[in-house]
């Protein structure tokens, strides 16, 4: 009797596997709520049915193990035996034992030689009424006299309904072989390509052809959507194993962990799900093992004895977001800094320059591990470089934030689907490239004669001002070269994209339509060219490469530039320590004829221009109408004292807008000269009101504006 041919056994294996997964969850839920009679009864029925089927099919070992578990369960169900953590552990061992036996049947057709006599013996002892032997966890020796209360994970409310839904499933679903679904998906992909070709060919043809092509278009789109849905599975299917994982791990570590799952119904493509299963498990295990402190440590820190581990999943911005947060010990940036330098991950100099937020993300660097001891529970303390690689391989990103002593949060973002995506087609010479719409922010176009004014330079790097913010620019031609066909010279086309929340602009020769394209992988020859995510076949049959915006940004060196800027903006905050080097970006301004003033760009909300004529008066102060609000204005003269100027009053005023709490203030300045990045040594500190210090910037003595003082002037004037 061959296993493959025998359908009854196959059915038995598949259905039992599902029952076992359900039992994992049920036991853990039961531990949290031991009085749930309905659940106990349901668990008993499940084990009973496996026992019955095993007996019928002649699997005596399986029957034996299930029977032992069933006997204990019947006592629990009848109220004769209270459920203790130790008993639950043994019952879960029954589930594992059954799983092992089923695995052996599936692989070899027979139950195998596994010896379950010890487990059965323990269960018999429990049944006989003796207190179950409390198993000490394999490693650590505990001085506490009683075993600690183990994990009591409480499932989020919606999971209960998910379980019920699974049981009620029955007739409205069918089982389909995954291979068949993949084949369908491929065919639909080919159909999309053919449809694209037909649409292209159809341009200019007669009405009958166009009508049919349109119908084909509609049908293909719907078919595509339908097939893509079949590939989607809720993240709960991976997630649902976690209650058991967390419970077992918490017991073994002697910790108390509460697990919250939010968004289990969030759907993902199955290949993505497969790819993130292991990284997620690793992160969860890490949080329990290294993140959440022991109950003693927690209470001594004024926290609740039970740690909270929460997983959230939701769709946002075309991506699936998964957030894993724990309220454990957090990550100490200083420890990471020291370890990173020690491991040679960064130089000591670089380490001091990095913000805490950047430092904490160093845990993803290869060759990094901060666990004091290597535990065989989650392997080396942090295998985060592998986690990050796996997530990035599917086009996702991961970021870590932490409050030392309080919490750690991991945010993962992954694209919804890999196979068919909308993309913008751009031109470079006669070549075409596709930019996935999910990375696209906006398109900017200006005439060639504006090129000089719109595109500016900072030490050789090209930037452009976009609504008050600076956008780094990269010429696609500079990174990819071209086919020798020169650019048309009539307009400048900038495609604003974002790589991981960092926007930058791509200067291309031309922009075409947005199209739905089928992503085809590049193959082993081209592995490692990080600028491309794949290739596609255009409507005319030619091949076009798909840009991987993140990889492209790295290659173009844009990411590090933007990173510095973002760092300066995000992490320096509003305090500007005049005694230290004035690092971060500084806005350089003219004051009067020959004076120069600098202020931290991080504090600047916007740079605006107003017509002198639009300035109005509100009492003693000057104001201007701005974005539906009234913006009070102060001048550098008011803050720093008047400065001789021979420059005639301009019609257009440069105003630097600050946001102070919810209020906005505009500082009228002279010419905006430049933006500088280099660390500037502060020569002398605050000689007069409004000035934090002086420094030499670009060869000129420059006063560093005390922005807080400036804002105080404003307040004083208004009060």
């Amino acid at each position: 009797m061959s296993i493959d041919g025998d359908e009854i056994i196959q059915e038995f294996l598949v259905e039992s596997a599902e029952i076992l997964d359900e039992l994992d969850r049920s036991f853990v839920a039961l531990e949290a709520d031991p009085g749930d009679h309905a659940r106990i009864a349901s668990i008993f029925r499940s084990v009973h049915s496996i026992k019955g089927a095993s007996g019928f099919l002649g699997y005596s070992r399986l029957e034996g193990v299930a029977h032992a578990g069933e006997e204990v369960l019947s006592l629990v169900r009848d109220g004769k035996l209270p459920l203790s953590p130790a008993i639950t552990t043994d019952l879960l061992a029954v589930v594992d034992g059954i799983r092992r036996l089923l695995g052996s049947i599936k692989e070899n057709g027979v139950e195998g030689d596994g010896d379950f006599s010890e487990l059965i013996g323990r269960l018999k002892a429990i049944r006989a009424g003796g207190a179950p032997r409390i198993e000490a966890p394999a490693k650590s020796v505990r001085s506490a006299p009683t075993p600690r209360e183990p994990a009591a994970p409480t499932p989020a409310p919606e999971r209960a309904t998910t379980e019920n839904r699974d049981h009620a499933v029955g007739e409205s679903t069918v089982r389909v072989d995954v291979g068949l679904l993949d084949k369908l998906m491929n065919l639909v992909g080919e159909l999309v390509l053919a449809r694209n070709q037909i649409l292209q060919v159809g341009v200019g043809k007669d009405a009958a052809f166009l009508g049919a092509a349109q119908r084909l278009n509609l049908i293909t789109t719907e078919l595509q959507e339908g097939v893509m849905k079949t590939r989607m599975r809720p993240i709960g299917s991976v997630w649902n194993k976690f209650p058991r994982v967390v419970r077992d791990l918490a017991v073994a570590c002697g910790k108390d962990v509460r697990l919250e799952l939010d968004g289990s119904e969030t759907e993902l493509d199955r290949t993505i799900l497969e790819a993130i299963k292991d990284p997620l498990t690793h992160i969860v295990r890490n949080a329990v093992d290294h993140g959440i402190e022991s109950p003693q440590t927690r209470t001594s820190r004024g926290k609740s004895a039970a740690g909270l581990l929460s997983l959230r999943a939701f769709h946002e911005g075309g991506k699936v977001n998964i957030e894993i947060a724990d309220d454990g010990g957090g990550i100490d940036p200083e420890r990471i800094r020291a370890k990173a330098v020690e491991r040679g991950v960064v130089t000591a100099e670089r380490a001091t320059q990095m913000s805490d937020r950047e430092v904490v993300n160093l845990v993803f660097a290869p060759g990094f591990s901060t666990a004091e001891k290597v535990s065989n529970i989650s392997g080396r303390g942090v295998g985060m470089d592998v986690v990050k690689t796996n997530i990035e391989r599917i086009g996702g990103s991961v970021e870590l934030t932490s409050r030392a002593g309080h919490s750690t949060t991991l945010k993962i973002k992954i694209p919804l689907t890999l196979a068919i995506i909308p993309a913008l087609i751009v031109h470079l010479g006669a070549e075409r490239y596709a930019i996935p719409q999910v990375n696209l922010l906006e398109l900017v176009r200006f005439e060639n004669d504006q090129r000089k004014s719109r595109i500016e330079q900072i030490h050789g790097a090209l930037v452009m001002r976009l609504r008050g913010n600076l956008l780094p620019l990269v010429h696609l031609r500079d990174v990819l070269g071209d086919d020798g066909i020169p650019a048309e010279d009539d307009a400048v086309n900038v495609v604003v994209v974002q790589a991981d929340d960092r926007p930058f602009g791509l200067v291309v020769d031309g922009v075409s339509d947005t199209e739905e394209i089928v992503v085809k992988p590049l193959g082993p020859e081209l592995k490692g060219i990080n600028a491309f995510a794949g290739a596609t076949i255009m409507g005319d049959g030619r091949v076009a490469l798909i840009l991987d915006v993140v990889g492209f940004a790295q290659r173009a060196g844009v990411v590090s530039q933007v990173r510095e800027r973002t760092l300066a903006l995000a992490s320096k905050g509003t305090s500007f320590d005049a005694n230290h080097d004035a690092a971060g970006a500084l806005l350089l301004l003219e004051h009067g004829d020959d004076g120069r003033v600098a202020l931290p760009l991080a504090l600047v909300a916007r740079l605006e221009e107003f017509q002198r004529s639009s300035i109005e008066r509100a009492g003693p102060k000057r104001v201007v109408q701005y974005r539906g609000d009234i913006l009070p204005l102060i001048t550098l003269d008011e803050v720093l004292g008047a400065r001789a100027t021979s420059v005639a009053s301009d019609d257009v005023l440069q105003v630097v807008v600050f946001s102070d709490g919810g209020k906005r203030v505009g500082l009228v300045v002279g010419r905006i000269l430049d933006i500088v990045h280099d660390a500037i040594p502060v020569k002398s500190t605050g000689a007069r009101a409004g000035v934090r210090g002086t420094a030499v910037i670009q060869g000129r003595v420059t006063e560093l504006l005390d922005v807080q003082a400036a804002l105080r002037v404003h307040e004083a004037a208004f009060s």
């Binding site: 070549e431 070269g481 193959g523 082993p524 020859e525 081209l526 592995k527 091949v543």
Partner: protein, 147 residues
Amino acid sequence: MSQTKQLCTFFLDGSFYGIDVVNVQEVIRYQEMTRVPLAPPDVRGLINLRGQIVVAVDTRCRLKLSPAPRDALPMNVVIRADHSVASLLVDEIGDVIEVDVDSMESVPETVSAAARNVLRGVYKLDGQLLLELDTDRIVGDRARRAA
């Protein structure tokens, strides 16, 4: 009775090469190629093979032979290797030739290492030497790493 096998043959810079037909998916004429920026110089581009995107390898470049004349339109020998499909650009296609497996000789030491790495051996035909290429080494990951 000695074993024979069939080789799909082609010409490259005056030399005669062959690949076991078992590994050859098809042979087609010159196809338009899309350039792949940032790729190594021996990757000429990508071609559309009935909906499948296939890398076209400039075999002359990969074997470190002299480059083809600029207006040449190379033919494509599409081979299966390393779990994927790739196309070798060649000057001209030859016939399918049956050879005696035992008559293969190893490539002399005087041949450059780059070439010896990708050649399985030499067959002495009437008036011609036939060089058999190893498909697993001429394309795919190993070729990329060896470059």
